[in-house]
């Protein structure tokens, strides 16, 4: 094999990079009192280029809580206390961007060497036993300017949680498939607390969106962190609900780079979650939302959650990856029951048939967490329903509509009334908030 001379010499540090004033991503960023706990030694690159911060020798960070000391109340994504200067996390970020670098290979590298040494091994073409892969990495790494890459992270306000480094979440360090790196926006202390994953299909019905929103809202109000994927449909609705509650911070694990908003229409929600909670991704900056990243991402959601609630999912939906990953880790999986005729509830109903506990509302989930002993109030008419009760024809039409979406034609056929009669009833019901229509489809609205 060809012995390529390392073209990118990792040593020594550029002193300019170590100046907190230069590296600070936002003016007035870290609170007075100094830089992050492992701030660089001023002007002091260690001779020989070895990491000056002494890597934690193999294994998870001690203790569950992060040794981060985030600035209280200062949760803006660009203003979180980021490590100035070139730190080992910078090398981990560079390693994560190499081609063919999955979480298993990255963790294997980090278990073998400290980040900086690992990078040097990569440059030397000795990082993997497979010469082809080592050579591929070597060639890719030759073009990477680690300092510039790290500066990009600082500018973007993106922090890095690296496997084996301080600050890496303990719950993941104990996992059997830990992420080698997590890029983050927002406050990592959001992870401290009870966490529930709410997942489901992107192509959900209104019922699913409502339930996800209510669960997210009520769980967050009870102090539970909502973990989800910020996707369209159920995921986004759960996070939107958690934000409405304004209590426990939401946690999002996304499939693309934290700077690549996907889907685009969730841009506002994406920013809100990063501001109020934590946005995590295994994918390096600029990574496109490729299809393979989502099942991999789902295992992180499962690993971070104590309970996983599936709100709505098709029989072959992506939620089953989350459920399998949760079962692997002995996490409780709960499912929201849906209509047996609704294909979007097919998987959740199958889960219930397999013996998963049902999640009818947030109380069911809180009971599963041991946070509540009260029985679920689901099924009873909500006492706070302010809507005027429907008339006889309206009730009939509402029954015909049921809890599945239907076109006008569907309702007409089911209720055996004339289109005009049905439309009058639907117009009354819509005015009173019992039903809603989108793109010619009618759906029943739950209470609240």
């Amino acid at each position: 094999m060809n012995e390529r001379p390392p073209t990118c010499d990792p040593a020594p540090y550029d002193p300019a990079l170590c100046d907190p004033a230069l590296c600070d991503p936002a003016p007035g960023g870290p609170a007075p009192g100094g830089p992050a706990p492992y701030g660089p030694v001023p002007g002091g690159p260690a001779p020989g280029g070895s990491a000056p911060y002494g890597p934690v020798p193999g294994g998870p960070a001690p203790g569950g809580s992060a040794p981060y000391a985030p600035v209280p109340g200062d949760l803006a994504p660009t203003a979180v206390g980021l490590e100035p200067g070139l730190v080992p996390e910078g090398f981990v970020a560079a390693l994560a961007g190499l081609p063919g670098m999955g979480h298993r290979r990255l963790v294997a590298l980090l278990r073998r060497w400290p980040p900086e040494d690992a990078w040097r091994q990569v440059l030397g073409g000795r990082a993997d036993d497979d010469p082809g892969l080592a050579d591929l990495w070597c060639r890719a790494a030759a073009d990477v300017d680690v300092e510039e890459l790290w500066r990009r992270h600082l500018r973007a306000g993106v922090g890095v949680l690296a496997f084996g480094r301080p600050g890496y979440p303990a719950v993941l360090a104990d996992d059997h498939q830990p992420p080698g790196v997590l890029f983050r926006r927002g406050d990592p202390s959001a992870l401290d607390g009870r966490r529930v994953g709410i997942v489901g299909t992107r192509r959900c019905t209104r019922y699913g969106r409502e339930l996800a929103h209510e669960l997210g809202r009520d769980l967050a109000a009870a102090g539970v962190r909502v973990v989800s994927g910020l996707a369209a449909g159920v995921d986004g609705a759960a996070h939107a609900g958690a934000l409405v509650a304004g209590a426990a911070p939401p946690i999002a694990v996304v499939g693309s780079g934290v700077d690549v908003v996907y889907p685009r229409r969730n841009a506002q929600l994406w920013a809100d979650v990063a501001a109020a909670g934590l946005l995590l991704s295994e994918a390096p900056l600029g990574a496109a939302p490729e299809a393979w990243r989502f099942p991999v991402r789902n295992r992180v959601i499962a690993a971070l959650s104590e309970v996983v609630v599936v709100v709505e999912s098709h029989i072959r939906g992506g939620s089953r990856y989350t459920v399998e990953a949760a079962a692997d880790r002995s996490r409780t999986v709960m499912a929201v029951p849906g209509s047996v005729r609704n294909p979007a509830s097919a998987y959740t109903n199958a889960l219930l048939a397999d013996g998963c506990p049902p999640a009818r509302d947030a109380t069911d989930v809180l009971v599963a967490l041991g946070l509540s002993t009260a029985g679920s109030g689901a099924g009873a008419e909500a006492p706070g329903d302010q809507r005027p009760s429907p008339g006889p024809i309206e009730s009939d039409v509402l029954d015909a509509l049921g809890w599945e979406p239907a076109s006008l034609e569907g309702v007409v056929l089911r209720s055996a009334r004339s289109p005009a009669e049905v439309m009058v009833a639907l117009a009354h019901l819509e005015r009173d908030g019992w039903v809603t229509s989108t793109h010619g489809w009618w759906e029943r609205v739950g209470h609240g």
């Binding site: 192509r203 019905t205 076109s407 006008l408 117009a427």
Partner: protein
């Protein structure tokens, strides 16, 4: 010697008089054709020569000049072959000038001396101011539609000369076969289930409201649309004549009776260019699909597959009922008052809906829906989601109402619209709505709620009121428009395609 023969040419859907002047003089033998002929017309020289010789008639060894007057007008097509041949015979003394006096000629010549059909006989004959016209025998029925001009037919040039010389009597024009082809039209009774689709179809026919059908493949969109022309009243008077003129000018075969009385149904494929749809063209200004659908139905299946530019070209004719086609050489106005029926899938795979069976990506769906512009969608007064009918309805179930029953209701509703001074309710001016479509208090409150929550725009309000008027007319209700009518009008105006997908 000089001869002048009246004839006509086609400009768009209008006929224009042409005087064919033939001058024969001594000199170097030759044939010159002047007077702005198009390439097809210019080829007349070779066709006429061969036809004369094949028919045993002499070709003059003299200098022949043919002028097509007026010189400014472009002469299109082969229809001037016959008048050139006749003029030549008169100029050379083969025929007496008296034999052709007061008679016009239109037709193409075959090399064997046969007379062939040309497009646009109806408008061309209509433009003539002569007592009689000679046309190819295949065009007899078309020429007879005009009525004012005596129609003489001939099958061959030799036969025509014999008749003109008085050696033989003129042949009788062939009698059109009396077949009622309306029996072959699809009937509404074949449609099983689909109560909302049928209702929308009936309202569309009665009020002249454009209809958009959205639904998965196999939900019966095309089946419904094909039954719409049967619900429309038969064409009468001027409408029939205009429709006949357009069809003739487009070169399409006319029905056996000559006059087009059944509302036309045009379903261009989505590969159609905007010229094919709107009209125009390089050879001659041919009426497009929208003009051929005049007073009938233009059905655009797979509407989102049409190029967006082609669809947006429909907006102006939809508003004005005519389309002006301007080219460097000429500018032509085509009539284009048609009922637009669009059919579209909700997404490329066709399964989108809240049930979530769709397998398309968000981006693909967005691209698909962007093809239909908001302003075009706004032209559809009726936008209906149709779903696949139940198996029970398909296999058993009672047949629905037949076309005849529904058409009778439609005719009655149209009669009521005519009493308001408009052809159909879709043409009601907004200013007249308060007078002819007053709302009951309950109906007004429904509309007010929609306006308040922003689900209805000012223009949408007028459209809903027109549709509600039609629904009331169909129901035989009085002058007042009821809550039920308004609610149904609103329900049949669903946002079936998200006009602007959130980015």
């Amino acid at each position: 010697m000089l001869a002048t023969i009246p004839s006509a040419t086609l400009l768009g859907v209008e006929g224009r008089r042409v005087a064919v002047e033939v001058h024969v003089s001594s000199g170097l033998p030759g044939f010159t054709l002047v007077g702005h002929p198009d390439p097809v017309c210019r080829e007349a020289r070779d066709r006429v020569r061969a036809a004369l010789l094949s028919s045993g008639l002499p070709w003059p060894t003299k200098r022949v000049t043919v002028n097509l007057a007026p010189g400014m007008l472009r002469k299109v097509g082969p229809g001037l072959d016959l008048p050139i041949a006749v003029g030549l015979m008169v100029a050379t003394g083969e025929l007496e000038p008296e034999a052709v006096a007061g008679c016009a000629f239109v037709g193409e010549l075959g090399l064997d001396g046969s007379l062939r059909r040309v497009p646009g006989i109806v408008p061309m004959v209509g433009a003539l101011d002569v007592r009689a016209v000679v046309v190819p025998v295949d065009c007899a029925a078309e020429a007879a539609v005009v009525g004012r001009v005596r129609v003489r037919v001939a099958e061959r040039l030799s036969e025509l000369v014999a008749c003109l010389r008085g050696h033989e009597p003129w042949p009788e024009p062939p009698r059109p076969p009396d077949v009622a082809c309306s029996a072959l039209r699809p009937d509404l009774a074949d449609v099983r289930g689909q109560p909302v689709g049928r209702t929308a179809l009936e309202i569309s026919a009665a009020g002249g409201h454009h209809l958009l059908l959205s639904g998965p493949p196999g939900s019966g969109k095309t089946m419904l649309a094909r039954r719409l022309p049967g619900l429309l009243p038969a064409l009468e008077g001027d409408d029939a004549l205009v429709a006949t003129t357009i069809r003739s000018a487009a070169g399409e075969a006319l029905p056996p009776g000559g006059l087009v009385v059944e509302p036309p149904f045009r379903a261009p494929h989505h590969g159609a260019s905007s010229v094919a749809l709107i009209g125009g063209g390089t050879a001659w200004m041919r009426p497009g699909e929208i003009s051929q659908a005049h007073r009938g139905v233009l059905f655009l299946d797979e509407m989102a597959e049409f190029p967006r530019m082609v669809l947006d070209a429909l907006r102006q004719p939809l508003e004005e009922g005519v389309v002006r086609v301007s080219r460097a050489r000429s500018s032509v106005t085509f009539p284009a008052r048609f009922l637009l029926v669009g059919a579209t899938n909700p997404c490329p795979c066709g399964e989108a809906g809240p049930e979530g069976r769709c397998r398309c990506s968000d981006a693909a769906r967005e691209r698909y829906n962007r093809r239909l512009s908001g302003p075009l969608l706004d032209r559809f007064d009726l936008r209906v989601v149709v779903s696949r009918p139940d198996v029970a309805h398909l296999l058993g179930g009672p047949p629905g109402e037949s076309t005849a029953v529904v058409a009778a209701r439609v005719a009655a509703a149209r009669e009521r619209a005519r009493s308001r001074g408009v052809g159909c309710n879709a043409e009601l001016p907004a200013a007249l709505l308060d007078e002819v479509a007053p709302l009951t208090p309950a109906a007004a409150s429904v509309l007010e709620h929609r306006l308040r929550v922003g689900a209805l725009s000012g223009r949408g309000l007028h459209r809903v009121r027109r549709v509600a008027r039609t629904i009331a007319d169909l129901a035989g209700a009085g002058e007042l428009v009821d809550e039920g009518h308004v609610c149904l009008a609103l329900g049949l105006r669903a946002e079936v395609v998200p006009a602007e997908v959130a980015a």
